[in-house]
């Protein structure tokens, strides 16, 4: 790869994708900033709002990218995303939580391994379970695979809740042929319905320490405290920096998956999506490709789950209901299955508009119009119509906007299916190859012109 073609590729990228992504992100952030101004947020409030937005853009972007590998490229209908996310974070928690301390809040301990070991373990476990699901399901048609995956994700959730797996007592020494382990843990488990308290090292701190950036970071926080936010700025900055880490994570997902897609490997995946028999008849071992793609996607979903939940104080099984799976699907459909850039954009738009948007909209309306209290139930809301006063109904609707979010998502989905089933970027030709496929020896536009002329001659 010479310097010139690196530059050329970079320039080509900038022409199309980067500008589009920045424009969409810019619009979403601007809308949130303006909403913040309308709410009269101070600097702290604005930064919190940005951090929150970035968090959801980051996690939905990652998960939509991972799903794009399954559905957009390979045509594997996976509706068990949340199961892989759950496995990722639970295994991470199990490996990295410290042993139960006397008088501590946590009833269930872990193996006390460093957090990065826990993360790697979580990703590997998600990938391994991906293999387990895919092996018997490979020979199934798309819709049967869907049933297997959604069943799998529910099995994962019920396993998390089950009393059987709530706690285990780990023996003091484990003899495994020649190896002898002396685990520090005494009680481990999945915590049952109460979930797990994530009392391991703060993920951001662990990451920054690992990069030897912890001291500079603390100095930076102190600087902010002196100049901008005098009152305890650390949580705000933590949130923002974690958001940035997530965006870097998205970037790495994108890099990995676009390299995967733009390669002979990705070409076979596309061929499997189009017609598996043909790929097979052309000498491609389609089972192997499907398996590899499924395992990679499942591992990335596990990593997405870890990114999502690791900085929360605790995890409980109800967080892993299938609705998250469908959120990711909506994100992918908005962005356009088959396009990696589209997947990220879909994730960002879903997070900014459909997931967080309605709540902001409600606050905005309430701030703007100084409305009174909302009616407490649907009956009271409808009662207003008797005196031709729609206000109680409007107020009630606004008040229930978090519940109505799902309705709005459904409406958007129906509209998309009717008017733009390919999503924002699904129509685009993203050629699956590591090299430019123009006729060798011609360059740029002249190559296309020559081909066109050739066509005219006949």
């Amino acid at each position: 790869m010479s310097a010139s073609d690196v530059r050329e590729r970079f320039a080509g990228l900038f022409e199309r994708d980067v500008t589009l992504v920045l424009a969409v992100l810019g619009a979403i952030y601007l809308a949130y900033l303006l909403a913040g101004v309308a709410f009269g947020y101070g600097l702290r409030g604005q930064l919190n709002s940005m951090a929150n937005l970035t968090f959801y853009i980051g996690v939905f972007g990652m998960l939509a990218l991972a799903l794009n590998l399954h559905w957009g490229y390979t045509g594997l209908f996976n509706i068990g995303i949340v199961g892989f996310m759950g496995i990722g974070i639970y295994v991470t928690a199990l490996l990295s939580k410290p042993p139960v301390a006397e008088g501590g809040a946590a009833q269930v301990g872990g193996f006390g391994l460093p957090l990065f070991v826990g993360v790697i373990g979580g990703v590997l476990a998600a990938g391994l379970f991906g293999l387990l699901v895919a092996l018997p399901a490979l020979r199934l048609q798309a819709d049967y695979l869907a049933i297997v995956t959604v069943a799998f994700s529910e099995i994962v959730r019920f396993t998390m809740m089950s009393r059987t797996f709530q706690t285990f007592t780990v023996p003091d020494t484990i003899d495994l042929w020649v190896f002898t382990f002396d685990p520090t843990a005494d009680t481990v488990g999945l915590g049952g319905g109460g979930g797990l308290i994530l009392n391991y090292a703060d993920p951001l701190e662990a990451l920054l320490r690992g990069l030897f950036l912890w001291e500079p970071y603390l100095a930076f926080v102190a600087l902010v405290q002196r100049t901008l936010i005098p009152n305890n700025p650390k949580p705000v900055i933590d949130g923002l920096v974690y958001g940035i880490v997530l965006l870097i994570g998205v970037g790495l997902f994108y890099l990995l998956l676009s390299r995967t897609g733009k390669s002979p490997f990705g070409r076979v995946l596309k061929a499997i999506r189009e017609d598996e028999d043909v790929a097979n008849a052309l000498g491609k071992d389609t089972d192997r490709f499907k398996l590899t793609a499924f395992v990679l996607g499942a591992a990335l979903m596990g990593l997405g789950g870890i990114f999502w939940y690791s900085s929360r104080g605790s995890i409980t099984p109800p967080s892993f209901r299938p609705n998250i799976t469908f959120f990711v699907w909506i994100a992918l459909i908005i962005g356009g299955a088959g396009s990696n850039t589209g997947s990220f954009l879909g994730g960002a738009i879903f997070a900014g508009v459909l997931y967080e948007g309605p709540r902001y909209f409600k606050n905005l309306v309430e701030t703007a119009f100084e409305l009174g209290d909302a009616p407490r139930n649907f009956g009271e809301a409808m009662a207003g119509f008797a005196s031709l006063d729609p206000m109680p109904f409007v107020l009630y609707t606004l008040d229930s906007v978090s519940q109505l979010r799902l309705v709005i998502m459904g409406v958007v989905l129906i509209w998309l299916m009717h008017n733009r089933p390919e999503g924002m970027l699904g129509h685009r030709k993203e050629t699956a190859s590591t090299v430019d496929l123009r006729r060798p020896g011609t360059d740029g536009a002249s190559g296309k012109a020559a081909a066109a002329d050739g066509g005219d001659e006949r």
Partner: protein
């Protein structure tokens, strides 16, 4: 889909065939249209003279049998295909031609019998294993990969692509070798596109191609797997006469370059004029195997072909 349809249809014909009396009535019809048939066959112009010398036969089929439930679709089919020849496999609808194809290429597993390719027993192997040994096929209804461009379709085909392993495609240094191989491969792809004169369609989605262009693309794609033997399942179905001529020219040119072809076709005329050897199937069995001259002189072929026609 249609292949399975035909196979099951073939099976039912085969079971009917167990009562020979059923043939009698049809034979009378056959006699009346016999003149048409000789007329058709009379148009032969440039039949390549069959070389009877013991030429090397890369593809050998022996005692092939396929049952679908209680229905026998293919029964005791044995033949071989000699190197550098154009062999035609004909027969009325439901004769078991497509089933035989699917048995050879591994899309279906035979109930009994063996398929040998270049001396190796390939019976019951996966389609991709068979394809990788140098036996390529095309489909009866062109199955292009619709939402991939013509170029992507073509680039998919070559064997032994290092970039088909995930880590090589993703890792920084290894990706260099992938790019190198793809660049080499690209030249060959453009050569083949030029050969089939579909280079002006290179950037089109395969789904936007016309029926005939799809047939060309499919053959071009099969050729890129660098096969020894190509199995073409009705390559001329739904193709206009001009394109048919072009396809035939391509096939003859490739045969002269040493490729071997086995062609399933409905159009007797076409097979008789272009193949040096013809195998006639009827009701799941081989009825006659010989040069076009022998075939057209065979009473039983004429009778069965016309009598058995649906």
């Amino acid at each position: 889909m249609s292949e399975t349809d035909e196979s099951t249809a073939g099976g039912s014909v085969a079971t009917d065939g167990e009562s020979p009396g059923a043939e009698g009535g049809d034979a009378a019809d056959g006699a009346s249209s016999e003149t048409d048939l000789t007329e058709v066959m009379g148009t032969e112009t440039d039949v390549p003279s069959g070389d009877d010398g013991g030429r090397y036969a890369p593809l050998e089929v022996e005692g092939l049998r396929k049952e679908f439930g209680g229905i026998v679709a293919v029964e005791d089919v044995s033949f071989d295909v000699e190197e550098g020849t154009l062999t035609g496999l004909i027969g009325p609808n439901g004769a078991g031609k497509s089933t035989t194809f699917n048995l050879i290429t591994g899309m279906l597993g035979p109930t009994a019998g063996t398929v040998r390719f270049n001396g190796e027993d390939i019976t019951g192997m996966q389609p991709h294993q068979i394809a990788n040994r140098g036996l390529a096929r095309t489909f009866q209804i062109a199955r292009e990969l619709e939402e991939m461009t013509v170029l992507e379709n073509m680039m998919l085909a070559p064997k032994g692509q290092v970039g088909e392993s995930l880590w090589r495609s993703v890792m920084p240094v290894a990706r260099g070798s992938v790019r190198e191989q793809e660049t080499e491969q690209l030249e060959r792809v453009w050569e083949v596109l030029d050969f089939f004169e579909i280079d002006h369609l290179a950037d089109e989605y395969a789904g936007n191609l016309s029926g005939g262009q799809r047939k060309l693309l499919e053959m071009a794609r099969a050729l890129l797997t660098d096969p020894d033997v190509m199995l073409l399942d009705e390559p001329f179905a739904g193709v206009n006469p001009t394109l048919e001529k072009r396809l035939l020219e391509h096939i003859h040119e490739l045969r002269e370059q040493g490729y071997t072809f086995l062609i399933v076709e409905h159009d007797m005329d076409l097979i008789m004029n272009n193949c040096e050897r013809v195998i006639v199937m009827h009701q799941g069995r081989i009825l006659k195997d010989g040069t076009p001259t022998e075939i057209k002189e065979s009473e039983e072929v004429i009778e069965a072909y016309l009598g058995g026609e649906v």
